[in-house]
Amino acid sequence: MIEVKNLTKIYSGRKVLDGAGAVILDGETFSVIGPSGCGKSTFLKCVVGLTRPDSGAIIVDGRNVAEIEDELEMARVRRNFGYLFQGGALFDSLTVMENVTFGLRYLTDIPKKEHERIGREKLALVGLENAENLKPAELSGGMKKRAALARAIAAEPKYILYDEPTTGLDPITSELVLELISDMAAKLRITSIIVTHDIKLAFTISDRIAMLNNGRFEVTGTPDEMRASADPVVKGFIEEGLSSGAHQRPPGGRGR
């Protein structure tokens, strides 16, 4: 479980996060939505220790990540996390297979001779079986996202953090990535935190959604609860997001 308490982060005098708090339960898919520049990516980076908050606590399985100073200790905490960056962040000088298996050496004790087998397995999961020897520059945007996803799940983390997983992708590839995220959560029982401005994605696959605005999670609830929210800011944001293209989903949250 991840518990965020009173998280504050200030950039150049501006409070990007101002006392934000949330609880993310094991196995759930938790989406964070909000206007551009509201601090969604900052929140995600604080959770995994890439950004140190100015105050507050981030309790991951009973451990306050925000207090960890030692890089080796932080690396041990990060063993439980996979992170899908907005642009993929694949290493340009390595092939797809080398990218996917990169973390196995540092995050796990799996022998090196097993790495390639695991890499192939994860690439097959994301539909990139034939891309293992390609370099990132030779991949399309959708393929890069999928390769980055394979890398994020290679060490079979407990938590996966997704930073705008469908941004910049065409609708078909977005749908594919959405299905992959959903399958991963269902099959591997991974806890997912998704930061997105894609309201349709959030409402399709999330167990709960939180709206970040003015540095705080103003409203948190299931997709149905969010739809029914009387908060005018939330209502307006969601209605605007959902009305841009029809997307039907069954009521009551992601069916599990």
Binding site: Q86, F102, L107
Partner: protein, 263 residues
Amino acid sequence: MTSFFFKSVGERSLLLARKLGAVALMLRSVAVWLFRAPLETREVVRQSVRIGVESLSVTILTSFFTGMVLALQMGYTSRNWFNEPLYIGTMVAFSLVKELAPVLTSIVVSGRVGAAVTAEIGTMKVTEQIDALYTLGTNPTRYLLIPRYIAFMITLPLLTVFADFTGVMGGFLVSSVKLNVPSSVYWNDIFTFMKISNFMHGFIKTFGFAFMIATVSCYKGLHCEEGAEGVGKATTEAVVMSMVLVLVLDYFVSAMLVAVGLI
């Protein structure tokens, strides 16, 4: 007007102090992680090939022609003064081994490789690949900086040895073909006067240059501003700064080596 001047000086001083502090923190991190985690041997080899092997041809070309022009200049000057080309081998070898080979090799490498290192690390920073290193269980010091530091410190001195040799050969070519100096005279001029301490003077300097080029290139890459413009600006600054610092450091290191008897 006066307060604006002092404010400007104050702001620049604070900025410089912050940057020097950041460099010091980076160096501390390199020193700590050098012993804290296993070495990324594959990366050291890869960087050594990039920095050393791939710079060999340009180093040889630069030093060969430098040796040739030294011999030419010294030969004709000597002829004007003494009616014959005297001690060409001595002057070419001493100039190259003690000064020109280390400095020119360092400048060539800082322009060719230093720029590439800054651009690579800077691009990694702006595309979140540095953050990705952290999430995958390692860190940029361990995976990026230390291999580059080691590669620079191993390959730059070795490149300088190649530069010494090829520069002297370039001088030999001009002195024997153009100046008609017998080859035995050319080589005797070198080996009569040159001691191992003269060679070590130039060789030791390159370790200082290598460390400095690695520091500037890595620091500029890690601290570049966002976007392609930020990376481009950092790359240019890294090259200019490295080249200037090679020349500045050259004086101080030379003075230090002379003071301890390595003349």
